[in-house]
């Protein structure tokens, strides 16, 4: 049986510097899989390679048993959408415009309108800012918009790159419940999540990989890694603070 | 040396002077100046009028042209240097065209479009060479100084540059000033080389030509711009046989460079003794490796 997403021995380098060194992983349909790792471990590189922005030196990426295309827009049309790191909203479009672009490839007008309402219900702030230029939104508002825009494409697989970046604590919680909701207990969207908030990420994930300098050094069920002392020390902070 | 070759070298030197400041302003400071011909015009006419009307020594005339051109950059820069990208480009283009138009209209002083003939030809190869070399060295030193770094910072991110305390406007002004001065100097040399000036010599294509040199050599490299000035001055001569086709080729080469090597001939790289030594060592080691290979084979 094929995995939904299967990566084999992936090597990526930037001008000779190896960012990924033989990564293999798989994501099954309906799973939430998370990848944790320090700055510069290669997490974003991995997501960018899957969505076709970066081309691997060697190795293969298969979606539903087929090699993925080299063109990002073709990959999107297969149902894989990325919410890129650092927001990257279209500053010259309004909030609504950005959400519209999220649904660029969709034709089902009514369903789009419904999803728009859903996004607004998750992030009421966006509704208030609906006709503001996205470039002048606050950092957190832009992050909500980036996630909302990703949701608008109604993807089969969603690649989330640090979705909680710059969000207020209350919203961080919300984001993870949104992730759960979208995943809908495995019946909805499959999620590959890169997060610095490793504690929360591991808590929602079915499975997780630990990435270190371009290599996978651990993998396992989210819960197991969460309780693993070595992971705790390296990625969760030595002393847990009272608020987290 | 034949006068022909000498003439080409003189022109190359003059172009180097005209391009150096542009490299600083456009390449390093990031303000796309599309009106270089305007400064050339000012330098050429002021220097010429100084020699022809006031009979001052050549050196004084050159200096006068350079200074006047540089001074013009100040009031011109006040409203325009704040503009971004294409807006600055078009404003400077407007300046150059306006300058030409004014020269054409001031017939009493400038001879209008009929120009000024009979300018004493005092520009000689040694003078041009010395000036070009000195100016190149100065600009090269400038871009690696703290001032030069500030210029690049402005090019990279103006807001961030402000936030680390750089007076961005002032640095743009300085680059603009230096550029205008050098272009003015080049203009003066030019008029005293050809012996005749006419507004038609300073059209848009002149500005284009100069900006292409900067890009061609490498936006972020002084030596690249110098090299490009020399190559692109000589190129038409080499291609002379191709007659009308050579402008077609010229256009094609410009596009080709942009799409295959957009960073220009040298990119960020500077020709220097160290870098030449590095290449030399690289070649040597490659060569000796090969030699070793032969030994063992």
């Amino acid at each position: 049986m094929n995995s939904l997403l299967e990566i084999k021995d992936l090597h990526v380098s930037y001008n000779g510097i190896n960012a990924l060194r033989g990564i293999s992983l798989h994501v099954e349909e309906g799973e939430i899989v998370t990848i944790i790792g320090a700055n510069g471990a290669g997490k974003s590189t991995l997501l960018n390679t899957i969505s076709g922005l970066v081309h691997p030196k060697s190795g293969e990426i298969k979606y539903k048993g087929e090699l993925i295309s080299k063109k990002p827009h073709k990959i999107v049309s297969k149902g894989i959408i990325q919410v890129p790191e650092g927001r990257q909203v279209f500053a010259n479009l309004t909030t609504l415009g950005n959400l519209g672009i999220g649904a660029f490839l969709r034709k089902d007008k009514d369903a789009i309108a419904e999803d728009m309402e859903y996004v607004f219900s998750v992030f009421p702030r966006l509704k208030e800012r609906a006709s503001q230029m996205a470039g002048s939104l606050s950092g957190g508002e832009q992050q909500m918009l980036a996630i909302g825009r990703g949701l608008m494409s109604k993807p089969k697989v969603m690649l989330l790159d640090e979705p909680s970046l710059g969000l207020a604590p209350m919203l961080v919680n919300d984001i993870f419940s949104v992730i759960r909701k979208v995943n809908n207990e495995g019946k909805g969207t499959t999620i590959l999540l890169v997060e610095q908030n490793a504690r929360k990420a591991l808590a929602v994930a079915n499975r997780a990989y630990v990435l270190e300098t371009g290599e996978i050094i651990r993998e396992g069920a989210g819960i197991n890694l969460l309780n693993d002392p070595s992971v705790q020390e390296a990625y969760l902070g030595v002393k847990p603070t009272n608020l987290q | 040396m034949s006068p022909y070759l000498q003439g080409i070298l003189i022109l190359a030197g003059i172009n180097v002077l005209a391009v150096l400041g542009l490299s600083l302003l456009t390449g390093f400071t990031g303000s796309f100046c599309f009106g270089q011909a305007g400064f050339l015009t000012i330098g050429a006419y002021v220097a010429t009028l100084l020699t022809m009307e006031l009979h001052v020594p050549f050196a004084v005339a050159l200096l006068g042209g350079a200074l006047f051109s540089a001074l013009v950059s100040i009031p011109l820069g006040l409203p325009t240097l704040k503009l971004k990208g294409d807006y600055f480009a078009i404003a400077t283009l407007g300046f150059a065209e306006a300058t030409r138009l004014i020269v054409e209209n001031l017939e009493k002083i400038t001879g209008g479009s009929r120009g000024i003939p009979g300018i004493p030809t005092k520009t000689s190869l040694p003078i041009v060479l010395v000036l070009a070399v000195v100016a190149s060295i100065c600009i090269r030193f400038y871009v690696v100084s703290r001032h030069g770094r500030n210029c690049v910072a402005i090019r990279e991110d103006e807001t961030a540059a402000q936030a680390i305390g750089i007076n961005t406007f002032r640095y743009k002004q300085i680059s603009f000033f230096i550029n205008a001065a050098l272009a003015g100097l080049a203009g003066g040399l030019l008029s005293h080389y050809v012996g005749f000036i006419q507004p038609a010599m300073f059209g848009i294509q002149k500005s284009t030509e100069l900006i292409v040199m900067v890009i061609f050599g490498g936006m972020h490299s002084v030596t690249g711009a110098i090299l490009a000035a020399i190559i692109l001055t000589a190129l038409p001569e080499v291609l002379r046989a191709a007659a009308a086709w050579r402008l077609v080729a010229y256009g094609a080469v410009v596009v080709l460079i942009m799409v295959t090597r957009p960073q220009g001939l040298l990119g960020n790289w500077e020709l220097s003794r160290e870098s030449l030594m590095a290449i030399w060592n690289g070649l040597k080691s490659r060569f000796s490796k090969k030699a070793v290979g032969v030994d063992h084979g």
Binding site: - | P3, S113, G118, V194, A200, P236, R240, A243, A244
Partner: protein
């Protein structure tokens, strides 16, 4: 592409040519060159000069003074030509005059009408520079006299190209002569090279209600401005100069230039030109321009000079050029003025446009 005549024997006489073969001046530069090439071919076929074949070395300067200087240096120093023909612009000829002076090679300009090409300042003379065309003061003067005496005009309007030295020159001299003769300039309007719309200026001219409009510029702008003038309902007679004669003008302007007059170096419709024009059309597949005829005449001057000198030595040719007298060419009879190197005795022809054709109207004696 027409090639320069092949040197059949090693012993050829090299003639340099420079002109704008590319860029926006190319129409005239190419016409110059092609006229020269055709003439040289004809001379060579007829046995050459002094028994030697002529060889043309032609360079493009794309209409840029600096390049002109470069190529003329190259012609003199590298190619070692005996004489140079070119070019059609006063500016570039002024720029290269010192170069030919220094290199001691004679140059004959086809169309540099600015007096300062040969006489940069009162009392000086560029010893090696010659021309085959008459000069701006003359055109200006003839235009003024013709307008007043023959057309009975009192009020003149001028439309001129401010960035063209030629146009400004003719305009200046016309205005001077006109006012000296007691005429009135009712409108004096300028445009810039490259402009295609002249209606703001023409509307002003219309309001001034002139008898004649003097339009000393090249035929493309003439066609456009003439059409726009007629569209605006201007009925004044249009007067032009040697930038007008081109079949393209008739084609482009059609009705609009009907009834206009222009001053020309000769009559392009004269029977003696027709064979050449025919050959030109066959060789290059395009209509002949006045420039080609001027280039032909320049070559005739040169041929005569070489023959008179009996040598291809540049200095000998120069001396012979200076002494040239009564040479019959397409555009008249040329005698070189030793003081100014201008052709004297070249009568101006007044051409009228009638039924969309250039019709010889009258000969204008310069001494008149």
């Amino acid at each position: 592409q027409p090639k320069a005549a092949e040197p059949e024997v090693a012993d050829t006489i090299k003639i340099g040519f420079f002109g704008a073969l590319s860029g926006d001046q190319a129409v005239w530069g190419q016409a110059d060159r092609d006229g020269l090439l055709l003439t040289v071919n004809q001379i060579n076929e007829a046995g050459g000069v002094l028994g030697k074949q002529l060889e043309v070395i032609a360079y493009d300067d794309k209409g840029d003074q600096l390049e002109s200087v470069n190529v003329v240096k190259r012609l003199i120093n590298e190619d070692k030509v005996s004489a140079i023909i070119g070019c059609n612009s006063s500016g570039r000829n002024i720029a290269v005059a010192p170069v030919t002076e220094e290199g001691k090679v004679p140059i004959i300009s086809t169309f540099a009408t600015n007096p300062r090409v040969t006489v940069p300042e009162e009392g000086t003379l560029m010893k090696y520079t010659f021309r085959v065309c008459f000069i701006d003061p003359y055109s200006g003067d003839v235009t003024a006299k013709f307008a007043m005496n023959d057309l009975g005009a009192k009020k003149a309007a001028v439309l001129y190209e401010i960035s063209s030295d030629y146009s400004v020159g003719v305009r200046d001299f016309f205005v001077k002569s006109w006012e000296d003769m007691g005429g009135e300039i009712v409108a004096d309007e300028a445009f810039k090279t490259g402009d295609v719309d002249f209606r703001p200026q023409l509307t002003r001219i219309k309001e001034a209600d002139p008898d004649v409009i003097v339009m000393p510029f090249l035929y493309k702008e003439v066609a456009l401005s003439a059409k726009q003038a007629r569209d605006l309902g201007i009925t004044a007679t249009m007067l032009g100069g040697d930038g007008w004669p081109s079949s393209a003008l008739l084609e482009m302007a059609g009705e609009a230039v009907e009834g206009s007059y222009f001053i020309n170096h000769g009559d392009t419709n004269a029977p003696n030109v027709q064979a050449f024009a025919q050959a030109y059309k066959e060789e290059f597949d395009k209509e002949i321009e006045i420039n080609s005829i001027m280039a032909h005449d320049a070559m005739m001057m040169l041929q005569a000079a070489i023959e008179n000198a009996g040598s291809s030595d540049p200095d000998a040719i120069r001396d012979a050029l200076e002494a040239l007298e009564g040479l019959e060419v397409f555009t008249g009879t040329i005698t070189v003025d030793t003081e100014t190197h201008n052709p004297i005795g070249k009568a101006a022809s007044i051409i009228k446009i009638e039924n969309n054709e250039f019709v010889f109207f009258k000969q204008f004696d310069p001494m008149e």
